[in-house]
Amino acid sequence: MPKNRMLIKKEVSTYAQVLLDAARQAGRQYEISAQLEEMKKVVRMSPGFAEVLRDTSLPEATRSEIIGEAFKEFDPDMIKFVTVMADRGEIALLPQVAAEYDRELQEEDNVVILDVATVIPLDDELREKIKAKFGAQFGKEIALREHVDSWLLGGMNVRANGKRIDCCTATRLDKMRVALSDVTTGGER
């Protein structure tokens, strides 16, 4: 039976709050936020894997083994957390839990989490520059979540609160490609 929307919201909030409390106790709340984001991405980008996690007919031990294998790079506590969600048949809530976790974290610490993707890792100078620039823009402290992505080719990609500033070389080349291929003679395509 489909669950009530308010009930789902409450569940999401509980998951997020419990995880945040545990992460705070370990002093790793931002690290966990980054891992949660990565996990969300893995589940979103692999529909087959998400299907397996949602499969309640699978024995718990087998599912736990699959999760452990898929997320072996991640924190063991995070693997346990995802396993609990999967065992309860609520893995579909992972994106909402991640969003709620970030929302609560940002609210409690009065910060803005900024995802910065670059081709090479950031150095301290650039890190400080980014923090200063976006800190002034948002009027809050900035918590950086750094990602290295060779696909960008150059430049950087900055995301915060569902908005993005994309100034990477790959996007610019892609725009150029689309502009050049978008020539029509006025007939039906």
Binding site: R5, I165, A179, T185, G186
Partner: protein, 522 residues
């Protein structure tokens, strides 16, 4: 086809690269979490607006536009306006901060375009004079003035008894194959030289039918002042849904701007526009499909609850603007197809109640050879009377009632009882007047010719002739007035009414023609 020569390629590529946006901007983004049936559910986009244009970026770099429809707590339900097969789950979506707009302008005249303004006729790109939003607020009471100028359809049955005014919304309703499109197309063809821009919107029709309409318009030189917006049955439901609104937006460009392209005003008059929406039942079906796939609750006949609002806000855009606003007009001729003559179905009743009258076409009349198959008994024009030319009012004032009483008597006469002379006379006159209203396709008549024909019928010139000669007499009389008595026709046109002198001359002219007609027959 527009030609692209080798020398022009370099130039085109340079132009394209010059137009490339190189600045960096902050954009809101989300991801497609589910896609199917031209509907996408998008995660994120917390600031999306209802009706906002969304940009879907396919994995191969192609951009497909969509329309934000359902704004929910965690996601947005959107309909895709382009190639929905290109979009997959996890593709990125951006908000644009704009509502859906269509390009419009003079260069669109003579062209066949899709509801997004892209050309479909292979005649090259169209340079737009501007863009207008597909959804646009209809003008308020203060910005309007009453309908007072006629739209001549060229069809005697309509111009005489169901007159349409500029700025009116007149529904054309009937079963399939009763000549609904024919009335719309004939009206467009008859607008030649009458300072009217025409928009023909084909929704959910066969592409071959649209091609036939375009060919007919081209043959009669009507494409010069016409734009055809085509959303055939093969296009996606969202495109069929926006097609009439896109047509209205293209028409509004001409109404809200003068000849010089500047906004219309008291000194810069706006243009007159005629929009034929063929047909709104198909648009309603497309909207139903969209709404059901968006999981909106179904109502009567499974249409969503706001299908009335969909049609009312479209048809409210038909307007006669006040002099201060340029006095332009947008006349709407929506078409509705009924099933088995059932006008009490959901969509027909809705549109009947919205419009300022309806032209009701009937299958049995069509099969009896009465074309256009207008049932004048239940067809009405609620505001067109004030737009009718005075001469027509004088001759056709009682025509509708006469024909109604003829139909009643006709029913009685079928019992075979003896009829008194007056009844016999009324039946004779009725049969000839009914015959007089018959008209073929693409055979529009000037309003002066219509006045002369009805005048002849009213004054009993047809009474002593066989019914089968009526149409030959009418066409001959029109020809005679064009050639021999062009002066009299001109006077009717300039004076706009029939005074005693004109009436006397008209009687003489028709008598003279009748003598020659009878001699010619012998």
């Amino acid at each position: 086809m527009a030609e692209i020569t080798a020398s022009a390629i370099d130039e085109i590529l340079r132009q394209k690269l010059e137009g490339l946006e190189t600045n960096v901007e902050t954009r809101e983004f989300g991801y497609v979490i589910q896609i199917g049936d031209g509907i996408a559910r998008v995660n994120g986009l917390k600031n999306a607006m209802a009706g906002e244009l969304l940009e879907f970026v396919a994995s191969d770099g192609r951009t497909v536009y969509g329309l934000a429809q359902n704004l929910e707590e965690d996601e947005v339900g959107a309909v895709l306006l382009g190639d929905s097969d290109a979009i997959k789950e996890n593709d990125e979506v951006h908000t644009t901060g704009r509502v859906v707009e269509v390009p419009c302008g003079k260069n669109f005249l003579g062209r066949v375009v899709n509801p997004l303004g892209m050309p479909l006729d292979g005649k090259g790109q169209i340079e737009a004079d501007g863009y207008r939003p597909v959804e646009f607020r209809a003008p308020g009471v203060i910005e309007r003035k009453p309908v007072h100028e006629p739209v001549q359809t060229g069809l005697i049955a309509i111009d005489a008894m169901i007159p349409i005014g500029r700025g009116q919304r007149e529904l054309i309703i009937g079963d399939r194959q009763t000549g609904k499109t024919a009335i719309g197309v004939d009206t467009i063809i008859n607008q030649k030289g009458k300072d009217m821009i025409c928009i023909y919107v084909a929704i959910g029709q066969k592409a071959s039918t649209v091609a036939n309409v375009v060919e007919a318009l081209e043959q009669h030189g009507a494409m010069e002042y016409t734009i055809v917006v085509s959303a055939p049955a093969s296009t996606s439901a969202p495109l069929q849904y926006i097609a009439p609104m896109a047509g209205a937006a293209m028409g509004e460009y001409f109404m809200y701007n003068g000849e010089n392209g500047e906004p219309a005003s008291a000194t810069n008059p706006g243009r007159h526009v005629l929009c034929v929406y063929d047909d709104l039942s198909k648009q309603a079906v497309a909207y139903r499909q969209m709404s059901l796939t968006l999981r909106r609750p179904p109502g009567r006949e499974a249409y969503p609850g706001d299908v009335f609002y969909l049609h009312s806000r479209l048809l409210e855009r038909a307007v006669k603007l006040s002099d201060k606003n340029g006095a332009g007009s947008l006349t709407a001729l929506p078409i509705i197809e009924t099933q088995g003559g059932d006008v009490s179905a959901y969509i027909p009743t809705n549109v009947i109640s919205i419009t300022d009258g309806q032209i009701f076409l009937q299958t049995d009349l069509f099969l009896q050879g009465q074309r256009p198959a207008v049932n004048v008994g239940i067809s009405v024009s609620r505001v067109g009377g004030s737009a009718q030319v005075k001469a027509m009012k004088q001759v056709a004032g009682t025509l509708r009632l006469d024909l109604a009483s003829y139909r009643e008597l006709q029913a009685f006469s079928q019992f075979g009882s003896d009829l008194d002379k007056a009844t016999q006379q009324e039946l004779n006159r009725g049969a000839r007047m009914t015959e007089l209203l018959k008209q073929g396709r693409y055979a529009a008549m000037d309003v002066e010719d219509q006045v002369v024909a009805i005048f002849a019928g009213d004054n009993g010139f047809l009474d002593d002739m066989p019914v089968r000669d009526t149409l030959r007499f009418r066409d001959g009389l029109v020809e005679y007035m064009h050639t021999v008595r062009a002066d009299l026709k001109q006077r009717i046109a300039t004076e706009g009414a029939l005074n005693d002198a004109i009436k006397n001359e008209l009687m003489e002219a028709i008598t003279a023609f009748k003598s020659s007609f009878i001699i010619g027959k012998k």
